[in-house]
């Protein structure tokens, strides 16, 4: 159910948003370029967090069929993002090997 945003809540949420943006910039700036692809697919999986919104929309008390269809689609696409994103990132990072370990043999 939509809870109407009032000015106080909005400013609080906006505050959280701005701080999270700054935190994100600081975190990502330190990621070396060799890890940029896994970073992208990994952060992509995080953007699948919208699955939470989809689940909540699906769980409303009185949802008509249209809401159920829309939210089930949202759940499906967000799940592709989450499951696919984390798995492919893991697969990629599993290939990154150091020289010390086994001389780069599989």
């Amino acid at each position: 159910m939509i809870v109407e945003l009032n000015a106080t809540t909005l400013s609080l949420l906006f505050f959280v948003f701005v701080l999270a943006m700054f935190l994100g910039v600081e975190l990502i700036r330190k990621v070396p370029s060799q890890l940029h692809t896994p970073l992208m697919s990994g952060s992509n999986a995080i953007s699948g967090i919208t699955i939470v919104g989809a689940l909540l929309a699906m769980g409303h008390d009185q949802s008509g069929i249209a809401v159920l269809v829309l939210s089930a689609l949202a759940v499906a696409f967000a799940t592709i993002n989450v499951v696919g994103g984390y798995l492919v990132t893991d697969r990629m990072l599993g290939m990154f090997k150091s020289k010390d370990k086994d001389g780069g043999k599989p």
């Binding site: 060799q34 952060s43 967090i49 919208t50 919104g53 929309a57 939210s71 949202a74 759940v75 696409f77």
Partner: protein, 459 residues
């Protein structure tokens, strides 16, 4: 309880991203982040008034199956288009969330006002642009759509009109002067406009600029989730969405800097549309060699720098390259791979391909590590890279590449360029490197050429 669960999830996302800053901890970082997602999803179940198992399992089942299959089956060379497509799905999911929430309120006659309406509007707008923009990027990256920019007269004007129309409809929707059915019509109008805008704003961008575009779309997918968080008053969506939004922006900035271009120039200039007609049209004699000649040069070399580009990915030559480098090292040469930040079709593309070919990551270096000592390098081998080694960026003020930081292979004692032909790269800029006296051209398919070099090395 729910709040605590969402805070825990947010903290795990932050730690997960932090651990991604070193190859040693990155894989665990990804698991930490996944754990955060699991908690966020689990906690959300407690907030559902009703759990409709059929709908839920259908959505999760289909999504998980498609996601898992795609993640297992995708080839490493196809990573850019897959990441592009996933970005789009994230945007679409957020758009659907905004839509579902509005529909629910509309069906029950619940009044919603300025702030929440604006949040819904932004969710739908950003999500829609992300979705179709990513589909176009996917099409271009996978070769289903021509990679060249698609340009027409008055293109920027058309896009500007679309943006203004979306803003006008959106403003009318948000300020709430219209109610009920009319508001719904306006929202659907915004959905249609955003989907159109995603296509029309991405088609003029060329294949070589895709690293910037998918970074930007990555950012958008996060911001769409963020806007959905404002719609439903949910902190975990806002925090995670903002982290992803910031991540995409940082990558976008790094990519633009590596090409010495502004974001506006990448998005609006249609760079690379006129193939072969830009630059000075360098004249001169190229020096083609055979792979037997190349073998003799490499066999005598003590230090070698390999410069891979998109051509290596296109030819699937990474394993052959890895094998060649092992042989060179056995032969006593010091070998490094020098990776330009925009080589390939997405940030870090070459690193992933070479990791797949079991190249240890210590052997991969960046241009600033190699350029200062380039004179001492015996042989620089350029494999399917073009614009990132184009000396016109330093020598020709009129070149479109002027000022771009490049890997200065022209300063190596000998430079071997593996290429199909003398055609210019995706930017459509002629490359004077091919005509330098210390450059040798080794024409042919990169994989076939390298394989024959490997054969020469084996007794």
């Amino acid at each position: 309880m729910r709040g605590l669960g969402y805070i825990a999830a947010s903290i795990l996302f932050v730690f997960g991203l932090k651990m991604l800053s070193s190859p040693v901890t990155a894989r665990r970082g990804n698991l930490v982040s996944a754990l955060g997602m699991l908690i966020a999803v689990g906690v959300s179940f407690t907030a559902m008034a009703q759990i409709r198992w059929v709908w839920l399992l259908a959505g999760v089942g289909v999504g998980a199956a498609v996601g898992a299959l795609a993640a297992r089956l995708v080839q490493m060379t196809a990573m850019p288009e897959m990441v592009g497509l996933f970005n789009g799905f994230g945007g679409l999911a957020s758009m659907l969330v905004g839509w579902a929430e509005f529909h629910g309120a509309w069906a029950q006659g619940t009044e919603i006002h300025l702030f929440t309406r604006t949040a819904i509007l932004l969710t739908v707008l950003i999500g829609g642009v992300t979705f179709t923009g990513s589909l176009v990027a996917y099409g271009k990256l996978s070769g289903r759509v021509r990679g060249k920019p698609i340009l027409y007269k008055g293109q920027n004007l058309v896009n500007a009109v679309l943006v203004l129309a979306a803003i006008a409809l959106g403003a009318l929707f948000s300020i709430g002067v219209v109610d009920g059915n009319l508001a719904y019509v306006l929202l659907l109008g915004v959905v249609a406009l955003s989907l159109t805008l995603g296509v029309t704003s991405t088609i003029p961008i060329g294949g070589a600029d895709m690293p910037v575009v998918i970074s930007l779309l990555n950012s958008y997918s996060g911001l769409a989730a963020c806007a959905a968080g404002f719609t439903i008053n949910n902190n975990v969506l806002i925090v995670s969405g903002a982290l992803v939004g910031a991540s995409g922006l940082v990558l976008t900035k790094i990519m633009c800097k590596a090409m010495n271009r502004s974001l506006a120039n990448v998005l609006f200039s249609g760079f690379g549309a006129a193939a072969g007609s830009r630059g000075a049209g360098y004249q001169g004699q190229a020096h083609p060699i055979s792979s037997a000649d190349a073998y003799l040069i490499l066999e005598a070399a003590n230090s070698v720098v390999i410069v891979p580009g998109y051509g290596m990915a296109a030819a699937q030559a990474q394993h052959a390259v890895g094998e060649l480098v092992e042989l060179l090292e056995k032969n006593g040469a010091d070998v490094k791979y020098c990776i330009h930040p925009v080589a390939g079709r997405m940030p870090g593309h070459m690193n992933v391909l070479l990791a797949e070919a079991n190249v240890p990551y210590e052997q991969l270096v960046e241009p600033q590590d190699v350029n200062p000592t380039m004179e001492t390098v015996d042989v620089a081998v350029v494999i399917g890279a073009n614009d990132v080694v184009n000396p016109a960026a330093k020598e020709d003020r009129n070149s479109p590449l002027w000022g771009m930081p490049i890997i200065e292979v022209d300063r190596a004692r000998t430079c071997i360029v593996l290429k199909r032909s003398l055609n210019p790269g995706f930017a459509g800029v002629d490359n004077p490197l091919f005509f330098k006296s210390n450059t040798r051209m080794l024409f042919g398919d990169a994989k076939a050429t390298i394989t024959s070099l490997v054969a020469e090395f084996k007794p």
